[in-house]
């Protein structure tokens, strides 16, 4: 089970421990690769949380998975996480760390869903419009959902701008049935 609160706590601690943006970027990359590794290899996760495996072994394994790019703070972070028996939460911590980093850099995640795939120039135009509206940098993810019929649904943070034909038709129906 993913524990958001717990992951957020570890991620925030790591974020404040790192000295500068380059270190943060490096840590983000290393952390997400470790997170992916833990999430995809059950054996690795089992090894990290197994109480019979010595700490030194766990630390060595984590250092190897993280690769040489990982600096000293990150390696100590890994050993803290492993020693606390929270290695299974590493994917969630990686996610939380990424979110904190984006927030600090003024990047907002936005998603846009359309009925048919968007042309690249339209996507770029949408991105600039959204960036102008929010005043922040946008990380845009797109998806396609045929049931929208037409129009687009944009979500920034927890706010949804629903301009889809499906919703408008539903509203029209509700209004006419109500009268």
């Amino acid at each position: 089970m993913k524990d958001r609160k717990l992951a957020m706590r570890y991620a925030r601690a790591l974020f404040t421990a790192l000295p500068d943006p380059t270190a943060i970027e490096a840590a983000d990359l290393a952390l997400s690769s470790v997170g992916r590794a833990v999430a995809s290899h059950t054996g690795l996760e089992l090894l990290l949380i197994h109480p019979a495996v010595p700490r030194r072994t766990k630390n060595a394994v984590l250092a190897q998975v993280a690769g040489e790019k990982a600096g000293k703070p990150l390696l100590s972070f890994f050993s803290v996480v492993a020693n606390h028996g929270r290695a299974a939460q590493l994917p969630a911590i990686a996610e939380a760390f990424h979110a904190i980093r984006e927030e600090a850099e003024g990047i907002v995640a936005a998603s846009i869903t359309t009925a048919t795939p968007m042309a690249p120039d339209l996507e770029a135009k949408t991105r600039t419009t959204l960036e102008r509206l929010t005043g922040k940098r946008i990380r845009l993810t797109t998806s396609v959902d045929g049931s929208l019929i037409g129009g687009a649904v944009t979500q920034i943070g927890s706010t949804v701008y629903d301009g889809s034909l499906r919703t408008q038709l539903a509203n029209l129906r509700r209004r006419m049935a109500g009268q």
Binding site: R4, S158, V160, Y161, D162, G163, N171, M176, Q179
Partner: protein, 520 residues
């Protein structure tokens, strides 16, 4: 009938569609993280308010109760099994509210205002929030108008005033609901609207109450709000607040539907919560599922506030605000007569008195099984009519002395004359305070009967004869002394002249009664 042409319909439709605002639909959303036991944890919804209604898929609504750092805890109102992890939740920006209005009178509804009696939907006058801060000190006026229950033992000794909160407490099967139902029946024609809130009861019991009310013509001034045992604890939790919101509409608005004021009187409402023990249990269930820390008897820390904020809304407004009132009769069920459990002590301390019903009295044939010693009314005395106060003052005293002596009298038979007379009087007074179910008694008859009892008209009769004496007395009074009854109501107090007339009437009846008595 006017023919409607097809092209006219299409024209109307076209206008509708053209006038339709095609603006983007703006919403704040969250995602369901986990769902179970009627509770959903939701991620997102950053600006949600506490108590706000939430919209989930498949027409399910929820209410946000826990606002935490990274998630929102909400109770689901309705079918929870259709909600899945990952479903989108939308804010409605509305605090939980219920439809209210005069159309609801005579109907059976659920806590969301949907009708349950199969007589079709009700067009509400407006909506009101279920939680509302109670009227302040300035808007209120002291309780001074009586609310007649029609039950002799209560009206004489534990009087209830409009705007009062009087707890009905007792074990199961001691007649708590019966007292409430009798009170509703007695409000017929007295201009008091009644709201009966059933919380966590069997559907069959609720149906029985509704049937009884219909049978005695009392449904015409009553709303039944039913949250039966089978509905979710969230709805049971909401039910008394919803009932009170409906009551507040009548209290705050005149019969014309406009806000009450000096020249537009607000209405008097009687609210019965049957029962708050089950309400507390439903709230405990919700709280534990929301992982709020448990306290005594596993109830959450705010269970006192849960009931105090509900019962504070009982009030009598001043004339400037229309003079409307809400009288609350909460019911609490005790286990084996234990009134020192958590919820009973809480509600006893909140209310302005309690009517304590006892199983022992009930089984020894004293019905209503009111324990006169433990029952009190802290403010109702001011609301009692003067005439009743005059005759009932001695009644309370006589009964108290009787109880004290009755315990001793069991030991020996050597009692002096005065003691015997007191025991005698007490036995007969207890007898005349007995009353059948669904037979509320008008206040003037109560006054005459209590007068007869406290002035010794029964002392030389057999205890078994008291019942017949009472029945025959009413018959006699209705035949010969209608004007006397009307004068008691009109004057409100017994002056010397009226007292003499009462004595004369009772003397005449007593003579007749003794003469008609079969020879022993």
């Amino acid at each position: 009938m006017v023919d409607i042409k097809v092209d006219e319909i299409s024209k109307i439709l076209r206008q509708q569609i053209e006038g339709f605002d095609r603006g983007t639909d703006l919403a704040e959303v969250g995602t369901v993280l986990s769902v179970g036991d009627g509770i959903a944890r939701i991620y997102g919804l950053e600006k949600v308010m506490s108590g706000e209604l939430l919209e989930l898929p498949h027409g399910v609504m929820g209410m946000a109760l826990n606002l935490e750092e990274d998630s929102v805890g909400a109770v689901l109102l309705g079918e929870a099994s259709v909600i899945k992890e990952g479903d989108q939740v939308r804010r409605t920006r509305k605090i939980m509210q219920v439809p209210v209005g005069d159309g609801f009178v005579g109907r059976v509804v659920d806590p969301l205002g949907q009708t349950l009696d199969g007589k079709g939907p009700v067009a509400p006058a407006t909506h009101m929030p279920i939680e509302r801060i109670a009227p302040g000190v300035v808007e209120r006026t002291p309780v001074k108008e009586p609310l007649q229950t029609g039950i002799k033992a209560i009206d004489a000794m534990i009087p209830i005033g409009r705007g009062q909160r009087e707890l009905i407490i007792g074990d199961r099967q001691t007649g708590k609901t019966a007292v409430a139902v009798d009170t509703i029946i007695n409000q017929k024609g007295k201009g008091v609207l009644c709201i009966y809130v059933a919380i966590g009861q069997k559907q069959s019991t609720v149906a029985q109450v509704v049937r009884t009310l219909e049978q005695y013509g009392a449904m015409d001034h009553t709303i039944v709000v039913s949250a039966a045992a089978s509905v979710s604890p969230a709805l049971q939790y909401v039910a008394p607040y919803a009932g009170t919101a409906m009551a507040e509409y009548f209290q705050m608005n005149g019969a014309d539907g406009r806000p009450a004021g000096e020249d537009n009187p607000g209405r008097a409402v009687l609210c019965i919560y049957d029962d708050l023990s089950k309400h507390a249990a439903a709230y405990r269930e919700i709280s534990l599922l929301l992982r709020r820390p448990p306290g005594r008897e596993a109830f959450p820390g705010d269970v006192f506030y849960l009931h105090s904020r509900l019962l504070e809304r009982a009030s009598k407004l001043n004339d400037k605000r229309g003079g409307g009132s809400i009288t609350s009769l909460p019911i609490i069920e005790t286990q084996a007569g234990d009134i020192s459990a958590y919820i009973p002590t809480n509600v006893i301390s909140i209310t302005d008195g309690q009517i304590f019903l006892e199983a022992d009295l009930f089984y020894s044939g004293i019905r209503p099984a009111v324990n006169v010693g433990l029952s009190v009314s802290r403010v109702g005395g001011n609301a009692q009519t003067k005439a009743m106060k005059q005759v009932a003052g001695t009644l309370r005293l006589s009964l108290a002395q009787y109880r004290e002596l009755a315990a001793f009298a069991q030991f020996g038979s050597d009692l002096d004359k005065a003691t015997q007379a007191q025991l005698n009087r007490g036995r007969r007074l207890t007898e005349i305070l007995k009353q059948g179910q669904f037979s509320p008694l008008p206040v003037e008859k109560q006054i005459l009967l209590v007068f007869a009892g406290t002035n010794g008209y029964l002392d030389d009769l057999e205890v078994a004869e008291c019942g017949r004496f009472e029945r025959d007395l009413y018959q006699f009074l209705d035949l010969n002394h209608r004007d006397l009854q009307a004068d008691i109501v009109k004057k409100g107090s017994l002056d010397d002249e009226l007292r003499a007339r009462v004595r004369a009437a009772l003397d005449a009846f007593k003579g007749e009664f003794v003469a008609s008595r079969p020879a022993a």
